[in-house]
Symmetry: C2
Amino acid sequence: MTSVKAAILGFGTVGQGIYNIVHERREHFKQTLGVEIEVAKILVRDASKVREGIDSSLFTESFDDILAIPDLEVVFEGIVGEDPAYGYLDQAIEKGCHVITANKVMFARYGQELQLKAKKKGVQVGYEATTAGGVPVIKTMQNLLRVNEVKQVQGILNGTSNYILTQMRAEELPFDVALKAAQDLGYAEADPHNDVSGEDAFRKLMILCALAFGEQPDWNKVEVVGIDGISSEQVEEAKAQGLRYRHVADAYRDEATGEIIAKVGPQLVGADHPLYAIDDVNNAVTLDTNYIGTLTMVGPGAGMYPTASVMMEDYADMLAKPEKAVSLA
Amino acid sequence: MTSVKAAILGFGTVGQGIYNIVHERREHFKQTLGVEIEVAKILVRDASKVREGIDSSLFTESFDDILAIPDLEVVFEGIVGEDPAYGYLDQAIEKGCHVITANKVMFARYGQELQLKAKKKGVQVGYEATTAGGVPVIKTMQNLLRVNEVKQVQGILNGTSNYILTQMRAEELPFDVALKAAQDLGYAEADPHNDVSGEDAFRKLMILCALAFGEQPDWNKVEVVGIDGISSEQVEEAKAQGLRYRHVADAYRDEATGEIIAKVGPQLVGADHPLYAIDDVNNAVTLDTNYIGTLTMVGPGAGMYPTASVMMEDYADMLAKPEKAVSLA
């Protein structure tokens, strides 16, 4: 049995999920992947903190310790923000490691750069977890792009906003109370700005654009509206008409100009709309393609296990595919 | 540029779709797959029939001519029924070819056998097109099974039934008229028995069971009910209550007995049900998994290009993955 060494960057929800799955599914991975995965080091801010049931020598506060791991094969990254995450992954790729990230803020900005570099170094970049949580939109799109063109991408990409809109409608809560409920459940951060302003959905849409169209639109030209301007009265009024607010991210290539047109904001949808029934923290993505037609995927937009699971699936895919064949990064 | 030789078995909707995509996307495949695909032979019942724009020497009525192609790499199969399709694919695998099929009747019965044989011969079997048309449920499930367990599979697997139910509701047509409309549009065969009796959905459900649970239930123990017993009055009554009939295939493993429980039949669903908005010839599949949670995919359940596209994606995946790593066939 081949043993492969993995490092985890960050030990919040994502990092812990990876750690747990690696240990819970040890026997399963031996069978399905043909390897035994060993978590060699975990990068944290405070290595002295006691973490129940985990060998404290696994933790380090220094990225140099990560780079020093002999035969390090793969780095799972679950930290927040552009820096230092980008620098870490850049160095890991330089060293010849596969990298797998859940960091959408960093990846929206640096994803194309990291993928180009990885290609040169003969390693791979997994980023399924950056967008739509447990919904495998990246892998699905990579597969279908080998044959199809994607004409339009649309979806509910922020689970927190969707949860708040659902609570405002179903429980008739004002925005602030619904937001508080989302925070209490761990869906929204203490600073909910990124979620409710549409910024989070925007970053994910940029990641989808890069894959679908091979490029992103000019970020300054994308209209981004959050859900923070929607009142209880508006939600009630819509409900009375059989309509629901959904926060939708949308991008397509304008056929005349070749330009990518993207926008993010609330939309009213009726019972026959594919997004009507997508409640709570679910995400949904619809892809319009030339051969397959319209494909929609729905699932949990966040959470420890959905996120960690798709990251492990990214790694499984790398074990199955030699880098030579991955021409659509 | 490597050139690979392909054969197509059958030249109905599926076979023509494959032929068209191979030619329309020649340049694209060179870029994305790094190969040039050459259709070397096409097996048909009547090779003398004139087919506009296609070299008549490509057509043959003899499967021996297919087996005689030097360096044949892959066989695309789009014929109907268990025999002779099974025998053809068995021989193609024996010869060392990858096989890709859209034949659900054959594959429900012989899929596991073909996959075992392919594994021994070091080739692969693609069967995305057997189930849910353009919806990539097979590939998605293969990916997530590397990490997850699938607890339940549910879905609308017969587009014709779904189209008829949609027409009965939206246009208030009686069953016979809706069926005639489906036949006129090419959705239903002249003999619509397989579709409206639930038999087609049953076969697809068996294919999903084999993948999700590693085995199929005893076929004799599966309750299969079609849509042919649903009256206009029942559809109207449901509509008045805000409900819709959906024809649902469902399978799960009973935790107590370990047995797989499967059934196929009409269900009434309300506006909050994920299948409520799935109209026309669309298919939908919902997977309940242990880590990701519930994942739903929706898309066209049939059609020349959706079917042919996912078959080409199967082949793209084979080019990307060496057989050694495909442990979940």
